[in-house]
């Protein structure tokens, strides 16, 4: 680490106003200009697919080959946001489920992430595999595997049933991200605080928590998104009773009203986009873990 750090001082020359720009500085200049162009292009590609959905939600009779809608309308929005419509209930379900999943995932992941991050021990590989696999196994496989058992246990079609199955992919994410946070954490500060007479609780509050806060924010953010994005688990285990936004959205989309689908899409996307605004800085730094959600 130190070797590579020292190395980067070698090529950068001492700044003197009279000398012409060095090759490395000229290179960096060119790179930055190219970067700006590339950034505009990339952002356009990322944002472009979302544009038709937004246009659709404000359009009436937006058919081929109109590029700009012939007629603008807020009809879809007034239907989607109607107080007696299903949107608000679905939004409520999604919020409550995702919040509960996030809280539970963080709760169980905190101690596990600490052990995985700070220690190495025999059996750690097996443990890593046990944490990684639930996160990768197709949701369909889990959903149909648990189907009959959840019906028999009376968990099918209930809030807690859906929360439990969402935890299968969400909790491993939280564990892995917190393990990453703890890997850069020095537990010796806790020993120092203890020597100074701090109770276990105040050690956690004043030493551990502030140190791993960024990791905790990212872990919570990702756990929330994982739960927020689940479709087939909710569809199968929720059995049409726990009607979250994605379930409502897919059934609306199959109904074929583009404008209403567009508006509902925005309602579904907005909360996570707002969360991204809040967490963007932390997430960019900590990496996205293995988010493919």
């Amino acid at each position: 680490m130190t070797a590579t750090q020292r190395m980067d001082r070698v090529p950068s020359p001492s700044p003197s106003p009279s000398s012409s720009p060095t090759p490395s500085r000229r290179r960096r200049h060119r790179e930055r200009a190219g970067s700006r162009l590339a950034a505009v292009l990339i952002v356009a590609i990322i944002v472009l697919p979302l544009v038709p959905l937004v246009i659709n939600s404000f359009a009436r009779g937006y058919v081929f080959p109109q590029l700009v809608p012939a007629e603008w309308s807020t009809r879809a929005w007034s239907i989607v946001l109607a107080t007696d419509g299903g949107t608000w209930r679905a939004l409520g379900w999604s919020m409550v489920v995702a919040t509960t999943v996030t809280a539970l995932a963080l709760l169980v992941a905190l101690p596990a992430g600490r052990v995985l991050g700070l220690r190495s021990f025999r059996g750690k590989r097996v443990l890593e595999f046990l944490v990684l696999t639930p996160l990768l196994v197709p949701a369909v496989a889990v959903a149909i595997g648990l189907d009959i058992t959840f019906i028999r246990l009376g968990l099918s079609g209930t809030f807690w049933g859906v929360v439990l199955v969402h935890l299968i992919p969400a909790a491993p994410y939280a564990v892995l991200i917190l393990a990453g946070a703890f890997a850069n954490y020095d537990a010796d500060f806790e020993a120092q605080a203890r020597t100074l007479g701090a109770s276990p609780l105040s050690v956690f509050r004043h030493v551990t928590l502030p140190a791993i806060m960024p990791g905790l924010i990212v872990a919570g953010f990702i756990a929330f998104i994982v739960s927020w994005s689940q479709y087939v688990l909710t569809l199968q285990i929720g059995g049409g009773k726990v009607l979250t936004l994605p379930v409502l959205l897919v059934s609306t989309a199959s109904g074929g009203d583009m404008a209403i689908t567009g508006a509902l899409t925005i309602v579904y996307a907005l909360p996570v986009v707002v969360l991204l605004v809040v967490a963007s800085r932390h997430v960019a730094r900590a990496g996205w873990g293995m988010t493919g959600t």
């Binding site: 590579t4 090529p11 090759p23 944002v47 038709p52 101690p111 990684l132 196994v137 998104i225 969360l275």
Partner: protein, 313 residues
């Protein structure tokens, strides 16, 4: 140096504190197992139950519909079914294409914006925009973008390339699953790019500067310095992208042809069929999918290990 953008989420403990060697003696303390317990209790039984139940039911034990014997009939009829092989092939092709294209584009994107990545917060936000957006939305967005009456087709019409929607090539609900792959690339290329940016920022820059000062050209630096540094970090993430694309349900559901359908869609269809006799086959399919994904997980861990070992020497 912080582990910014560290792709290795299964982090190794720090090596710089010799006084904590006792913790790494190779034996885990009892209290440590206790700490692992809550997470394991939540994750393992649920997940293990799901898989065990799938295995048991795939072997024909299905009291609900009067099946109580163990046999491999479901597997035999699944493997004898042409649709299964077509679906398997399709799913593997989707996952492979998604993983390959996301990796190549992700690296290209990262190299493109590395110069301003740490400076512009706004572009950092926009750049990550597709990551938290659910696949259901991504899939619907692709329909409205690449469909035959989608935005691109309309743009084609406005420049007189096509007259009717049917003249636009079928990019969604198509036999090549292009729309499905496009959705995964849209979501996963930026994800890979962020991993790459982490490596570029911490390690690669120094070596690139050395190479540049020794007179290496842009291409030489990319070929002999940057890519060899990136690939070990990116390879495991590509495996993860493969596994996600392979197991995804909603994307092929919303963007795929009905025949052949991707494996997860086929499994769901068999499971929800009115013919309850098809359920063991659905379970067998769930088991097959899980095995493919577990193999990916193992490959991921092996690749990560190799990177770590490489760093230690």
């Amino acid at each position: 140096m912080s582990s910014s953008g560290n792709p290795r989420m299964l982090a190794e403990p720090r090596r710089s504190a010799p006084w904590r060697i006792s913790d790494r003696s190779g034996r885990i303390r009892d209290s440590a197992w206790l700490k692992l317990l809550p997470a394991l209790v939540v994750i393992v039984p649920l997940f293990a139950a799901a898989l065990m139940l799938a295995v048991i039911q795939s072997l024909g034990y299905f009291p609900l519909i009067g099946l109580r014997s163990f046999n491999v009939d479901a597997y035999r009829s699944l493997f004898g079914n042409d649709e299964f092989w077509q679906s398997l092939l399709l799913s593997i092709r989707i996952a492979f294409m998604a993983s390959l294209l996301s990796t190549v584009l992700g690296i290209a994107m990262a190299l493109g914006i590395r110069g301003i990545w740490r400076r512009s917060r706004r572009s950092a936000f926009l750049f990550q925009l597709s990551l938290p957006i659910p696949h259901v939305i991504g899939a619907l967005a692709i329909v409205h973008l690449l469909g035959q009456s989608g935005l691109i087709a309309r743009l084609g019409h406005s420049v007189r390339l096509i007259d009717t929607p049917s003249e636009f090539p079928a990019l969604v609900f198509d036999p090549y699953a292009l729309g499905i792959v496009a959705e995964f690339v849209w979501k996963d290329a930026p994800f890979i790019a962020i991993v790459v940016l982490g490596v570029l920022g911490t390690v690669a820059e120094n070596y690139e500067n050395v190479a540049a000062s020794l007179g290496a050209s842009w291409w030489q630096r990319l070929r002999h310095v940057t890519l060899p540094l990136l690939l070990p970090a990116v390879a495991p993430i590509s495996v993860i992208v493969f596994a996600f694309a392979f197991g995804s349900f909603e994307v092929p559901l919303l963007l795929g042809e009905s025949f052949p359908s991707a494996l997860p869609v086929l499994a769901y269809r068999l499971h929800t069929s009115v013919d309850l006799g098809l359920r063991p086959e659905a379970m067998a399919l769930a088991v097959v999918m899980s095995l493919v994904v577990m193999a990916s997980a193992l490959l991921y861990l092996v690749l990560v290990r190799r990177v770590r070992r490489g760093e230690q020497t």
